[in-house]
């Protein structure tokens, strides 16, 4: 799938294949885009996030069974993030679920729409209607310490101070859009689900108040606040607990696909845990061994250069008792130190919405 905004993006935009989608990785230099996101306001083309609508009388029951968090009473003015698991407790995807008056709308993570759709269809015992809305809807987002100001100039200042995970349907330029306060990077964050025919105009107007940022800058900023990025972190065989995504699962729910496997993992206490680390300038490969006192204790699951830290930032999956902050490990011969998240403090935390 290619972005519907492709013909608006500047020449020289670098695209990358993420799962089933071709998404803009960067429009210019990632470090500049990162700075815009962390210091001002960035507008994001999230067309790689698939929108899947579930309707029909059993829509909520179905969603409640397929999503790992509690969405039974998710009203049309709330959204929430949840994992979708398979029977073995493996992550199928991490979705943003929007309550709708006639059911529920799921937004997949980047490039994971096809897999999510197949999984939902395979498990459709309730006979719900599952509709891929990507032909008529797309997602744009704003992230940044002044993203609220962009909301005011672009749509309506009243919406900027919506509480986290609140949703409203609002009119933009004569078009009905779904507006949500979300946020993946620790900064003020908003999403707009818009009809494709209106997306270009909204994107262009947003660019008058904010800078475009690509997937690379977004994922770096997500990593810096330990927002899970399933395509990097949900490695084959890893349990939810090993990934550190327990908060996206609610085991107090009576039933959901994958619940037994999650409970078994909780009860066994086995497996590794994920911890952030920094150190050196080189970027270790995924799978690089992590050593503690010369002993192999685990591996790197994801690492990048953090513009915020000015150093390498990565996630390591290591023996549970060593998954703590402030420890010294060796990765590829380089000394690294484990961290407590967030790894940088977002500027938004000290800037009020006025």
């Amino acid at each position: 799938m290619a972005t519907v905004l492709a013909n608006l993006h500047p020449e020289g935009t670098v695209y990358g294949e993420v799962g089933d989608s071709s998404v803009p990785l960067r429009f210019s230099a990632s470090s500049d885009e990162y700075r815009v996101l962390r210091e001002r306001a960035a507008v994001l083309d999230l067309s790689g996030n698939r929108l899947i609508e579930i309707t029909g009388p059993a829509a909520v029951d179905f969603a409640q069974r397929l999503l790992a968090r509690d969405v039974e009473y998710l009203t049309s003015e709330r959204c929430m993030m949840s994992l979708v698991l398979d029977e073995n407790g493996q992550v199928v995807d991490q979705v943003l679920a929007f309550g709708r008056e006639n059911g529920i709308l799921l937004e997949s993570s980047c490039g994971a729409g096809t897999r999510l759709l197949e999984h939902l269809e395979e498990h459709n015992d309730e006979g719900v209607v599952i509709t891929d809305r990507s032909a008529d809807l797309t997602v744009l987002a704003l992230e940044g310490p002044y993203a609220w100001g962009v909301v005011g100039r672009l749509i309506d200042g009243e919406l900027a101070s919506l509480p986290f995970e609140s949703v409203v349907e609002t009119d933009w330029n004569g078009t009905e859009i779904i507006f949500a306060r979300t946020g993946f990077t620790g900064e003020y964050g908003y999403q707009m689900i818009v009809p494709i025919e209106a997306a270009a105009e909204l994107w262009c107007q947003a660019l008058e108040h904010a800078g475009a940022a690509g997937q690379e800058a977004l994922e770096l900023a997500m990593l810096e606040v330990r927002q899970p990025i399933p395509r990097h972190e949900a490695t084959a065989g890893a349990s939810v607990i090993e990934i550190g995504a327990n908060w996206l699962v609610d085991v107090t729910k009576d039933e959901f696909v994958g619940r037994e496997a999650v409970l078994a993992a909780f009860e066994s206490g086995q497996g590794r845990r994920t911890v952030g680390f920094t150190g050196g300038d080189s970027i270790p490969e995924v799978g690089a061994r992590v050593l503690a006192g010369g002993e192999d204790i685990g591996e790197v699951v994801h690492a990048v250069h953090s513009a915020g830290l000015g150093a390498t930032l990565g996630l390591a999956r290591v023996d549970a008792e060593l998954a703590a902050a402030g420890l010294e490990f060796t990765v590829g011969g380089v000394e690294v130190t484990t961290l407590t998240s967030p790894y940088i403090v977002p500027k938004s935390w000290s800037i009020p919405i006025i």
Partner: protein, 764 residues
């Protein structure tokens, strides 16, 4: 449609800056605040020391010797009440046409320091000042005083009263102070609303406004001081203590109040703000100003007199309404004192100096814990004019949600009744289903869980499926005698252990409207909302409020939910036998009962299946007749007994069934005697025999049981009744399947010694 104009003809106030309205106004326009370090040394444990205190000599100097033994709350209230009556020049009012609506946030102690029922202060004032008309205790926390003024206007428009005293009172209590300190909401110095916004100061006081119809005031030669042009209520449906940061809830209250008054934002000359001085409140209020007034926001002066008197909680709305009336009278906006001019901003907070300006319309806003908002619109009195009567819109009961020891949901309860199950004192079970998102449910106290379960069950029973837009106008009236015993107890224990480590989550649930707010939040209801605390009579008074919302076109659907709980443990096989000479004694119980009240048109338009139509309601207030053992004994001071007076206020009733307020106490005798004598064709029963005395929830259960009997022919039976106080056993329901259809059913509710209610339901 122009309804009968209602005006203020008397004001009364006592607070930190004045012992009467004249002194209060003088201090306001001279900018002389009253926030001082708390004199009571026990408060020295707190870092924040300033509060708005009333000097004892101001109280002692204004009360007759006969009031000296009363508690401080009652004494503050009596002073302000007498001032308002005196200014209005009232004398020799018909007590039955003279009502009182009191706003109060805290359960206050008696003279010996023990908690007393929420409505006790109001009873003291009403009984001493000979008021036996509508009597409502409204407890929407910090919005209660403003809410009371609005409800008082309603009581005049319905024709239930000629004159209503409306106001609020709250004293400065150590526990409340500790709670606010624990929330880090107190400013360490005098508060500075809208500029420094570093926290609030608490205050104490009482304020009353005397309301009557304009034509009546003019006819008796009184001076109208201001017109109560309209009021608006709304629910944030957002959070237990924090205001909705978008200001939507506050803005909707202002818009509703202006619509009620037939005015627009352009008519408003001054806004009396809530202005507590907390960052969350002040930021939200600025948004309300910008949302409501748009580009004109900076030209509408708004100020906070809490900068003078502190936050007087349940009294605040009334204190500010008194200031608003005086602002209209004097053409002067009181300032926000302590205002730092160096703080930039686009709004006009009338910094530090009072300002003369022509004001014809004032909006007074209050925002409360539980997300309850109220706005009052007061105008300079306009000339006498033609008016329309409040329209009579038929209302029906369309959904029942009992959560009792008998069962959870009307299906289970019906089955329990049919099979003759008794569960006096048994707690309801909420196992097997959650009724709210788990993330909220986990943090809720038991009372809120019961109330939310009841609300959702009633909603489902009504078959209501409303789009988001319509939910914005669905009303919620919460009825409770005492609120959450669990949270109150937990909070008090924490304060006793260490006043600097209060259980803050419990504190946010100590306010009586917290549960109503939780229901709104869970069900997403943002319509008009209020909370009624008149003991066992709360549910029928709440029904009255719901009917008034529907009649005035403020809502088509209103959820009434009543809940009370006991900390007593389950009573085993205890038997409660109402109206029974052989048994005396009741068992306290815990329950929540909700029912959906809907305009008949709305129900018909969605093909709903109503249980019953509401044919009428009536309430009577006053001290109970002296119980002499003779059922008809009457107190010479109060004339006829309350039951008979409540019945007399109903339309002509020919019920086949009466679901009475009997709970197994000696007072049942009078009720049964009066009912059987007045309604010889009816059989009597009561729900408390099956559930125990669940206070407000028992009143709601009685209403639900009458509705059930009318539609489905099932009623709770008094199976053990052998020797009734009055009549023969055949005069009572002794088996649950009713032989004949019930075309009319009468419901009784009771707050002994205060208010009794009667509700007449009819078949569709």
């Amino acid at each position: 449609m122009a309804l009968r104009p209602v005006v203020v003809t008397g004001l009364g106030i006592i607070c930190a800056i004045g012992r009467d309205p004249a002194e209060f106004w003088q201090r306001l326009i001279s900018g002389t605040g009253g926030l001082t370090p708390v004199l009571d040394e026990s408060f020295a444990v707190f870092e924040a020391r300033h509060a708005g205190q009333v000097p004892d000599e101001w109280i002692d100097g204004q009360l007759p010797e006969s009031d000296a033994g009363l508690d401080r709350t009652a004494r503050l209230a009596l002073i302000a009440a007498r001032q308002a009556i005196e200014q209005a020049g009232l004398a020799g009012e018909d007590p039955d046409r003279f009502g009182i609506i009191l706003g109060k946030c805290q359960a206050t102690p008696d003279a010996a320091g023990r908690y007393q029922p929420m409505h006790r202060t109001e009873d003291v004032v009403a009984d001493r000042l000979r008021m036996r008309g509508p009597r409502i205790l409204v407890s929407t926390a910090c919005a209660a005083g403003g809410n009371a003024v609005g409800l008082a206007k309603d009581k005049i428009l319905t024709g239930e009263a000629d004159v209503v005293l409306a106001g609020g009172v709250d004293p400065l209590l150590f526990g409340t102070y500790a709670g606010f300190a624990g929330l880090k909401a107190l400013s360490t110095g005098p508060c500075r609303p809208y500029s420094h916004s570093d926290g609030l100061n608490l205050g104490e006081g009482a304020a009353f406004l005397l309301l009557e119809p304009l034509d009546r005031a003019l006819a008796r030669g009184a001076t109208p001081l201001a017109e109560v042009a309209g009021y608006g209520l709304s629910a944030d449906a957002y959070h237990a203590t924090a205001p909705d940061p978008t200001g939507r809830g506050g803005a909707s209250a202002v818009r509703r109040a202006l619509a009620d008054a037939g005015l627009t934002p352009d008519d408003v000359g001054y806004v009396s703000g809530h202005g507590t001085g907390t960052p969350a409140n002040d930021a939200m209020e600025a948004k309300v100003m910008r949302v409501v007034f748009g580009e004109r926001a900076g030209q509408v002066p708004t100020s906070s007199i809490k900068s003078f008197v502190g936050h007087t909680l349940g009294a605040a709305g009334a204190v500010e309404a008194v200031a608003s009336v005086l602002a209209l009278r004097h053409g002067t906006a009181p300032p926000t004192i302590g205002f730092d001019d160096a703080v930039p901003g686009d709004l006009d907070f009338v910094p530090n100096v009072a300002r003369e300006l022509p004001i014809e319309t004032v909006v007074s806003n209050n925002y409360a814990f539980g997300g309850n908002n109220v706005s009052l619109v007061l105008t300079t009195p306009r000339p006498e004019r033609e008016y329309d009567e409040l329209p009579d819109r038929a209302a029906v009961i369309t959904g029942l949600g009992p959560v009792t020891g008998l069962g959870t949901g009307i299906g289970e309860v019906t089955e329990a009744i049919v099979t003759g199950r008794q569960a006096a004192g048994w707690p309801p079970s909420l196992d097997g289903r959650t009724f709210a998102p788990r993330s909220l449910w986990r943090h809720m106290n038991h009372l809120s869980r019961m109330a939310i379960a009841a609300s959702r069950l009633a909603w489902e029973d009504a078959g209501l499926q409303l789009p988001r837009k319509e939910l914005d106008d669905v009303g919620l009236v919460f009825a409770t005698g005492a609120g959450s015993a669990e949270s109150t107890g937990g909070f008090d224990e924490s304060i006793a252990a260490n006043p600097n480590k209060p259980a803050v989550l419990s504190f946010s649930n100590v306010v009586l409207n917290a549960t109503g707010g939780a229901v709104c939040q869970t069900l997403g209801l943002r319509g008009p909302t209020t909370t009624i605390c008149n003991g066992g009579a709360s549910a029928s008074i709440a029904l009255d409020c719901a009917l008034e919302m529907i009649r005035a076109g403020k809502a088509d659907v209103v959820l009434v939910v009543a809940a009370d709980e006991t900390v007593a443990t389950a009573a085993g096989d205890a038997v409660v036998s109402p109206y029974d000479r052989r048994h005396s004694g009741t068992v306290p119980g815990s329950a929540a009962v909700a029912f959906v009240v809907e305009s008949a048109d709305h129900c018909a338009s969605r093909d709903g299946r109503p249980y019953a139509r509401v044919l009428g309601t009536g309430h009577a207030s006053g001290g109970e007749p002296i119980t002499t053992g003779h059922a008809s004994g009457a107190d010479p001071a109060n004339g006829e007994g309350l039951v008979a007076r409540a019945l007399a206020r109903l339309p002509e009733a020919r019920p086949e069934l009466v679901v009475g307020a009997g709970t197994g106490v000696p007072g049942d005798a009078e009720e049964s005697a009066v009912v059987l004598a007045a309604l010889p064709g009816a059989v009597l029963t009561a729900s408390a025999g099956l559930t125990g005395d669940c206070q407000a929830a028992t009143g709601a259960m009685n209403i639900a049981m009458a509705a059930l009997a009318i539609r489905d022919g099932i009623a709770p039976a008094l199976t053990g009744l052998v020797e009734p106080h009055a009549g023969e056993p055949a005069s009572y329901v002794t088996k649950p399947d009713l032989a004949d259809p019930v075309r009319q059913a009468l419901v009784l509710t009771a707050a002994p010694g205060s208010v009794r209610g009667a509700v007449l339901l009819g078949a569709i």
